[in-house]
């Protein structure tokens, strides 16, 4: 039993830390830390910085321009990025589609698309969920009908995160209706500028435009944009989901959020003393801190197993559930720590360059909004209830 990093891992951690210290723009860092809105350009700048160092595609093998890192290195990188206040890597191209193309795409697809993901030419979004297909994803109905050298796609996708920035979308579409629902699904790559596509914003309860609906009205897609085999898309989708779930525990995010919560609790007062010294509030912080400390090691145990080559199984479902519940609890405490100053909300203050005096403590403005936004964590990526179904199934229940 040894919970520490070995010398090579420590050296790697120092290398990442130094790189971020030297190159991550301090204004961007501050905006991430203070919970401000990030623009498309912010993400693009961050991707370009990582790409310049060869560190953008952390799950890809080196022959495709990836890092070839093992699970431990990927974990260290994620930890350091969060600690440094870096934006997240937009996952759709790099973390989701990339691995699918590398595993199932044609040589032509890999050659064309992978470099464009790395250099930022393409911004991908994900076309999975539909109004009638959420947790029951296999019931999706967006149809793709073969017509000569094209598929003609009609239907609707939803919850398309940052689709407003995207020029391409990877979609699960129905190409057959006979047999089990999973057996008639195909994986298509679609140019968002094709005629017949319309993107409409969905404003979430925090008032933000983060997700979209995407409508397809007889959109013509060249057959060479089919990934792998027709009607085998479900297999690729499941493979993608396992990649979506690496790092699912969100340890880095929770660690930063907990540190922020403690700063807030020390700054806020109750009966003239720091809120952090209030026994009841201190106990609530301690409780979630204990949960996080345990989960960090659960995460490391899974990472160590993955680095030994074992495939992620029920563990990723467990981490998804526990990780999201912990993050949500920290968000809840941060909101409570503010007392009445959780109420004021100035949307413009989330934009870069806003310089009006804050209402209440200067850290207060985004926190209630973040709490509401992060209610999504236990819903997306396969809801926590779906994860429990998955675990139950593997137990033979």
């Amino acid at each position: 039993m040894d919970l520490s990093y070995n010398p090579e891992e420590r050296a790697f951690r120092d290398e990442v830390r130094t790189f971020l210290q030297d190159h991550l723009d301090s204004r961007l860092r501050e905006r991430v830390r203070s919970g401000q809105r990030l623009t498309k350009a912010d993400y693009e700048t961050w991707h370009a910085l990582l790409n310049s160092r060869g560190w953008l595609a952390v799950t890809w093998p080196p022959e495709y321009g990836g890092t070839g890192w093992n699970a431990v290195q990927r974990h260290i990188f994620e930890e350091e990025c969060c600690a440094a206040g870096a934006p997240r890597i937009v996952p759709f191209g790099v973390s989701m589609l990339g691995p699918v193309l590398i595993r199932f795409g044609s040589p032509a697809q890999r050659e064309f698309y992978l470099p464009r993901i790395l250099d930022g030419t393409d911004w991908w979004c994900q076309g999975y969920s539909e109004p009638g297909a959420g947790s029951d994803l296999a019931s999706l109905r967006t149809r793709a009908v073969r017509d000569g050298d094209h598929y003609v796609v009609s239907g609707q996708k939803t919850w398309t995160t940052l689709g407003q920035h995207a020029n391409r979308i990877f979609c699960l579409v129905r190409t057959a209706t006979a047999g089990k629902p999973q057996e008639g699904i195909s994986f298509l790559l679609i140019d968002m500028r094709s005629p017949g596509i319309e993107v409409r914003p969905i404003v979430l309860l925090d008032g933000e435009h983060e997700v979209n609906e995407v409508f397809f009205d007889n959109v013509r897609v060249p057959v060479e944009n089919l990934v792998g085999e027709e009607n085998a898309g479900w297999t690729y989708a499941k493979y993608l989901l396992t990649h979506e779930r690496t790092g699912i525990a969100g340890v880095g995010f929770s660690t930063s959020a907990l540190a922020e919560l403690k700063r807030i609790a020390r700054a806020q007062r109750k009966n003239g003393r720091p809120l952090a010294d209030d026994p009841y509030f201190a106990a609530r912080i301690a409780r979630v801190e204990i949960d996080l400390e345990a989960m960090k090691t659960t995460n490391l145990r899974m990472i160590a197993a993955a680095a030994q080559g074992s495939a992620p199984g029920v563990e990723s479902s467990m981490l998804k559930i526990k990780g999201t519940v912990i993050r949500q609890e920290i968000n809840d405490l941060a909101r409570r720590a503010l007392g009445p100053y959780a109420l004021p909300f100035v949307s413009e203050a989330l934009d870069a360059g806003h310089n009006e005096t804050a209402i209440g403590p200067d850290f207060a403005n985004p926190l209630a909004s973040q709490y509401f936004n992060n209610r999504k964590l236990s819903i997306y990526g396969g809801s926590n209830e779906i994860q429990k179904n998955i675990i139950a199934k593997t137990l033979g229940l």
């Binding site: 040894d2 490391l300 526990k322």
Partner: protein
């Protein structure tokens, strides 16, 4: 990072598992727990022969283990089978003897490791709850160097059958002052020491002990008189770690039994494990148990390396064990239904032990408070 155990510890695990499987049916456990002294002396000798008592202590003290992960491997195995033999009492008393004993006092340790003599720690008091420094029992020394002890000790694990007791007493200072506490190695048959033994609700045995002018000569003092708190804390830390591991073992057996039941019990014409309401409740237990396992690793590692944050890690583990132990106990009973309420069915006994472990060495609330007071960022010295 490496989350595998050493070859020696895997061997320890296997030896224990095999022995318990072949020699420790639940019916026998109940039989021994029901009669005095509340466990089997014969089995205790055999545990000792197998080196399992020695696994509690370091080599320099005549044992074969004694490090954090030796304790967790051993106690997890004991917890799986709900063993009632006095491992915890031996660990608490024995490690103080090992830590503080003179060569002469330590000769007793050899007999303990061989299973011939039993020792326990008589520290807790009726008013003390879980506060380690709350010691009202007094020790006074007269001009000739003779000590005299007065006071009461509460819920001493296997205190009714121990041959020797390590008794804490206040030499000077306020009742809750960590300074001024002394430890004494006292033979249970000493005049003025009265024991009232009893069974505990979860199948163990303990005793209330009264010290009414117990006279001890100088050689009975264990360690420097008045400066025993740090050693006491260290022994209790080991005991805490052991209890957490025992709980983890019991949680695993409880959920194993429950899974089997969910798959075989039929109602409405189908196995009840097919119902989503039950599936989700069961899965939640497994998730929480993995958290306990992780925090136990954190705690054992911090004890083994004497890490500055070890007290926080231990309290975190004991808190989590308390919280999850109760959850597992209540939920596994509920998932079964009426059958789990019967004495005859094994599960309920695991549930009882899981709930009652919380009452040894600090409960869920006590350790949460410890974590809040210690603070993760301000490690103990």
């Amino acid at each position: 990072m490496d989350f595998t155990h050493t070859e020696q510890r895997r061997l320890l695990e296997e030896t224990l598992q095999r022995f318990l499987r072949d020699n420790y049916p639940m019916s026998l456990r109940h039989e021994h727990a029901a009669a005095r002294p509340g466990f089997s002396r014969e089995l205790w000798s055999r545990f000792a022969e197998l080196g399992l008592v020695g696994a509690l202590f370091r080599e320099e003290h005549g044992g074969f283990g004694g490090a954090g992960f030796d304790l967790t491997v051993l106690f997890e195995g004991l917890g799986r089978a709900l063993v009632v033999e006095p491992f915890l009492a031996t660990l608490l008393g024995g490690s103080l003897l090992a830590e503080l004993g003179t060569p002469e006092q330590r000769s007793l340790l050899a007999q303990i490791i061989e299973g011939e003599r039993l020792v326990s720690l008589a520290h807790g008091e009726p008013q003390g709850r879980y506060e380690l420094a709350d010691v009202a029992t007094t020790a006074e020394r007269d001009a000739t160097g003779v000590w005299k002890l007065h006071g009461s000790k509460a819920v001493v694990p296997n205190g009714d059958s121990a041959d020797w007791l390590i008794v804490s007493a206040r030499i000077h200072g306020e009742q809750t002052d960590p300074q001024g506490i002394g430890l004494y190695l006292v033979e249970a048959s000493t005049e003025g020491l009265e024991r009232r033994g009893y069974a505990t609700v979860d199948g163990g045995h303990a005793a209330e002990i009264t010290l009414d002018g117990v006279v001890l000569d100088e050689s009975a003092a264990l360690g420097a008189p008045g400066e025993s708190f740090a050693a006491l804390e260290k022994a209790v830390d080991q005991g805490t770690l052991a209890l957490c591991a025992e709980a983890l073992g019991a949680m695993q057996t409880a959920t194993d039994i429950t899974l089997e039941y969910l798959k075989t019990r039929k109602q409405f014409g189908v196995a009840i494990g097919g119902f989503q309401a039950l599936q989700h409740r069961y899965v939640e237990l497994l998730i929480e148990i993995e958290q306990v396992r992780s925090q136990l690793i954190n705690a054992a590692s911090s004890v083994e390396h004497h890490a500055p944050d070890r007290r926080w890690q231990l309290s975190a583990a004991k808190h989590l064990v308390g919280r999850v132990g109760r959850l597992v106990a209540e939920e596994t009973v509920q998932l079964h239904g009426g059958i789990a309420m019967t004495w005859e069915y094994d599960l309920g006994h695991f549930a009882k032990r899981l709930v009652m472990i919380d009452h040894w060495l600090g409960d869920t609330d006590h350790h949460l408070e410890q974590c809040a007071v210690l603070g993760r960022d301000q490690p103990a010295v």
